[in-house]
Symmetry: C2
Subunit: 241 residues, 2 copies
DNA sequence: ACCGCTCTCGCTATTTCTGGGGAGTTAAAA
DNA sequence: TTTTAACTCCCCAGAAATAGCGAGAGCGGT
């Protein structure tokens, strides 16, 4: 435990806003944990490609294990938050699968706590991160805690993500060369399941022309093939289906 | 001007949280405008497909003109916020193009005000919206206003978007037959741009087996082809890249 | 006036993917 | 225990995608 009294929230936020290095995020998150008097706080930038960044108060062993075992793929917190907009209590997630229950058990064994609350945050180009607070207590206390602090946590998540984005400009390698309208049309229809012939017919262009669009979109997105291009366009929010 | 005194912010937010109809968003946004004593407040859900939804205090004439002329395509507020994470003062955007200056002139003529501040908000599946406040005053006053109210505006934007997502019928929770781990692996690697041969090699299975996974995933997702299956898996949050 | 970009259309050849089949083993729920 | 589901492997013909090469019209910005 920290011997000093917890810092005031607005002071911590101010420090955070003025942060100029990644290490200050770690300091801030520890201060925030002490301020809210919870077991853990974590900021987790989620990137499925395997590279992830985060800071927080989980034990290094747990973090390493999480990465090693690729728990990203089965963690219900990730899966659940990815489809939600609002912050979510871990209890409301789907822990029914066997893999998820095993994961939960292991997490608790690593001292994560039986309660958790995660705030999804999204940035440009499909960037996605979580701000999570976890603790060991009973349901009533936790419900009161999350109800009281939801708004603060949303703001904190926002500020953390802002700083993380500021510090990691190279994480968005290609800052989204925008697609032309026709390219958007083409990729959208492909993502909707149309074959090339159907897309060409729908857009009233020849299939040859369509292929030019797909290729130029693929080039702009740095994609290896059509599937990749559609996936990137989707995850960067360039097309919506 | 409103004769009644402005409502307190937390009351307005509470009303907003309890809202059960879209029309209540309109009421809330008018209350918020009065509370902050600004000319306009607007929530604008931007969908790349062209269809938009919003509520706010802009004149109907301006809204109609905006839609008619497809100003979405040239509005620097949209373009700028789409690439940014943090809220932005309109002065910091790129108004250099001819079309943008013409648009700005017209907007001011419609009483939008010479100052503006927009908060980008993002939801699942590339959903994107803006919460905008605009006013007519000089730079110093506006700078002080935005500095003072930035945090509140971020929260308000968040709550508005939450409600808008709740009300959107499109957000129906798909039954979403879950994919098997191998199917998830296969679709994920495909979405990352791997060819079938590479995926099979990575997963240490034959390409024939891989095809079985892709097909069963396609069947579960109700997809017409591989591109469609990957797109659906992505937009349903079944795979993360 | 020119540059760059978008949009449209054309060709060939090679590689990859798809959509139908069927069949056996293992591991986990009912 | 039975049954269900996941996982693994195989064939083949035809459709789709990729990598190259072209061309010309139109539009907005420097």
């Amino acid at each position: 435990m920290n011997a000093a009294p917890p810092m005031r929230l607005d002071i911590i936020l101010e420090d955070l806003e003025g942060a100029s290095e990644l290490s200050e995020l770690q300091t801030a998150i520890e201060n925030l944990r002490d301020h809210f008097k919870v077991d853990h706080m974590v900021y987790h930038w989620v990137s499925g490609a395997g590279d992830q960044y985060g800071c927080g108060t989980y034990s290094p062993e747990w973090v390493q294990r999480y990465l090693e075992k690729e728990y990203l793929r089965i963690d219900p917190v990730i899966q659940g938050c990815y489809q939600r907009f609002h912050p979510v209590d871990w209890k409301r997630l789907d822990w029914s699968s066997k893999a998820a229950r095993g994961f939960q058990k292991e997490a608790i064994a690593h001292g994560i706590g039986n309660q958790g609350f995660s705030v999804p945050v999204r940035g440009p180009n499909g960037q996605f991160a979580l701000y999570t607070v976890s603790h060991n207590c009973d349901d009533d206390i936790w419900a009161a805690f999350t109800e009281t602090n939801r708004r603060d946590l949303i703001l904190i998540a926002h500020y953390f993500n802002q700083k993380a984005l500021d510090f990691e400009p190279d994480r968005k390698p290609e800052p989204a060369q925008p697609l032309s309208p026709r390219e958007v049309d083409a990729l959208t229809l492909l993502a909707m399941g149309y074959s090339r012939a159907q897309v060409a017919e729908t857009l009233n262009i020849s299939e040859h022309t369509l292929r030019v669009y797909i290729e130029s979109a693929r080039f702009k997105l740095g994609a290896m093939n059509t599937v990749h291009a559609v996936a990137r366009a989707l995850s960067r929010g360039l097309i919506v289906i």
